[in-house]
């Protein structure tokens, strides 16, 4: 019997779980009382991590479907014109897809590097789009820089876990990520 190919759904659900965790972290980081410094506020943006697995490990069709669905999920919640994340995520996805055969894309280290670079691009692109609304853009860029530093540190820490989580989910579903063939455990 032919099995329905659910690779796009597995990756989208994994991204949704990470998105929920990031939102939860941002809720608590909105006001942190740091010793010696006092009340501080941080914001994590991990957009680059949502694109990596779909672009590096999945076949182009399923990877793009997962990226588009994730982008729409994020776009529906964020106060940006609907389709902003769709365009930015899709752009990052096709760029990684274009060059992925030239690199050791199975390695976790390469995935972390791609996630960091993708996130850097996404934060800068979003900032250029949104910072114009701020009455003092200089202040906003300083805050964006601190948030970017924190986000990149978090990506470097959790990217290997997140890639492994998606790999394990594929393994659990007995699907090969790139070919979609059944793999026996």
């Amino acid at each position: 019997m032919r099995r329905y190919d659910l690779r796009w759904l597995v990756v989208t659900l994994a991204n949704l779980v990470l998105w929920w965790l990031v939102c939860l972290a941002n809720h608590y980081l909105a006001n942190v009382d740091l010793p010696l410094i006092g009340p501080s506020s941080f914001y994590l943006y991990l957009g680059g991590l949502f694109v990596v697995y779909g672009a590096l490990r999945l076949d182009p069709r399923h990877g793009l479907a997962a990226t588009i669905l994730t982008a729409l999920l994020i776009d529906s919640v964020e106060p940006v014109p609907f389709g902003t994340s769709l365009f930015l995520f899709a752009l990052v996805h096709v760029t990684v897809l274009y060059g992925r055969h030239r690199f050791p894309r199975e390695g976790a280290v390469f995935a972390v590097v791609v996630a960091l670079l993708a996130n850097l691009f996404l934060v800068i692109a979003l900032s250029f789009l949104l910072v114009g609304a701020n009455p003092r853009p200089g202040h906003a860029w300083l805050r964006i820089f601190f948030d970017l530093l924190c986000s990149q540190a978090v990506i470097a820490l959790i990217a290997p876990w997140f890639i492994a989580l998606q790999d394990q989910a594929m393994h659990f579903m007995e699907i090969h990520p790139e070919t979609g063939r059944q793999v026996h455990r």
Partner: protein
């Protein structure tokens, strides 16, 4: 078979196709998609706030009877104070109504108060918002003012079935008409100075040149009757005023309430006669 050069560029052709399809997608389809994707995630957005409430409930359950009796006494004292304030407020409202009738003034806008729990905070350099656990199911409307014990919280920007999104007074996307306490001339307030290691601040523009403010001599900034908010609600304190580039007015910075970052409950003011 396609030439190799085209095959390499295929991802970008697909991207261009998706973008063209997105641009020409009818508006109602985009609105429907956005609403659907938001509602899919809505249970996730509020689930953790319900868990936090449960956590608070069980930690309160752990308090001893003595502690509860002490808290009860304090609450009884507060209730007595509020009872007196309530009576005085009713008397003053009657006075306002009498003067309105006497002077044939238009009546003040009236509001229904809807208390709502904060489900999620979303504070970045790009926007500052929170999601509350009440939506169109409680009659909340877009543009409704949101307040707390310390003054203005923000304004409702999105209303969904069971949740609403509040644009905070700290957000660069929120602008409102305000006045300096005791002066009727309107000024313009905008949020957006949110550094990582300091309390949230906003900016104030079009302040008359006869005002002076410094960190030691602050001026209270309150809502104006030109905004959707009831007049006189606290926004923040002006800590500095500098002449603008053209010298006609002054611009300055406003220190906002630190508690805005830790709010767990807010009150939405729903206009009773929105057509007015």
């Amino acid at each position: 078979m396609l030439p190799k050069r085209f095959d390499q560029a295929r991802p970008f052709v697909v991207l261009a196709t998706i973008l063209l399809a997105w641009i020409f997608l009818p508006l109602f389809a985009k609105v429907f998609t956005r609403a659907s994707f938001f509602e899919i995630q809505a249970p996730l957005q509020v689930a953790d706030s319900f868990v936090r409430d449960l956590q608070t409930f069980w930690s309160n359950k752990a308090h001893s009877k003595d502690e509860l009796l002490k808290a009860g006494k304090q609450v009884a004292g507060l209730i007595a104070q509020y009872e007196y304030s309530n009576q005085r407020s009713a008397y003053l409202e009657g006075e306002i109504l009498r003067l309105e009738n006497l002077l044939k003034l238009p009546s003040m806008p009236d509001y229904r108060f809807e208390a709502a729990r904060v489900a999620r905070r979303d504070f970045s350099a790009w926007w500052q918002r929170m999601i509350i656990r009440k939506g169109s199911n409680y009659g909340i409307t877009v543009g409704a003012p949101v307040v707390f014990a310390g003054g203005v919280v923000g304004r409702i920007t999105e209303v969904h079935k069971y949740t609403s999104v509040v644009d905070l007074v700290t957000s660069p996307t929120l602008r409102l008409a305000a006045t300096i306490a005791g002066d009727p001339r309107p000024v313009s307030y905008q949020g957006g100075l949110n550094n990582t290691f300091s309390a949230p601040r906003g900016t104030v523009d079009f302040v008359s040149n006869d005002f002076f403010a410094s960190p030691s001599a602050r001026k209270k900034l309150v809502t104006s009757d030109l905004s959707v908010f009831p007049p006189g609600l606290m926004i923040g304190e002006i800590t500095s005023l500098e002449p603008s580039a053209d010298g006609l007015f002054k611009n300055g910075e406003v220190q906002l309430d630190q508690r805005l970052g830790t709010l767990t409950e807010v009150t939405v003011l729903i206009p009773l006669n929105p057509e007015e």
